[in-house]
Symmetry: C2
Subunit: 105 residues, 2 copies
Amino acid sequence: MIVKTPSPPYYTVIFSSVRTSVDHGYSEMNDKLFDLITRQEGFLGAESAREEIGITVSYWKDLESIRKWKENAEHKMAQAKGKSEWYRSYKVRIAKVETDYGFEK
Amino acid sequence: MIVKTPSPPYYTVIFSSVRTSVDHGYSEMNDKLFDLITRQEGFLGAESAREEIGITVSYWKDLESIRKWKENAEHKMAQAKGKSEWYRSYKVRIAKVETDYGFEK
């Protein structure tokens, strides 16, 4: 569930979104994209939750891997549908993880 | 809902957690901490959602503001209770936001 990322530095993409009420293939596309992203070069894992707001945090080896994922053809189609149908608003933030620590029972 | 952050660079703390089934004042502490954090110097806002995993992403002006929040006395008490009671596991990642972009209908 919580991604076992390597020691920093690595990169993260924080995708925060508010949905419309339109479904139109959203769940199918979500599943498909998840399947695709796990096969991307440099992908380290992702964590996701949605209540009023949806947050998906993905982790990446470097900026080049993130750039390639952004340009992936199927992902681009999803981005277009996201704007026209699924999302009322979203924000993408790309950040370099400098420190991390955790706790496990 | 989605935080209106200033132009990068700014910092983010990604707090990913899995809860125990223990409540014991969790909601009250959550509300209290939210009230406290909004009055912290350098705090820019936070986004939060919980399903199987909980994700809280807070945004900060700089690392010094994050350090001070980590050392805040009431926050430290909450951290201790978090370990002993509320969380099965968590991970904190501190990252520098280098790029962002968004979309709004």
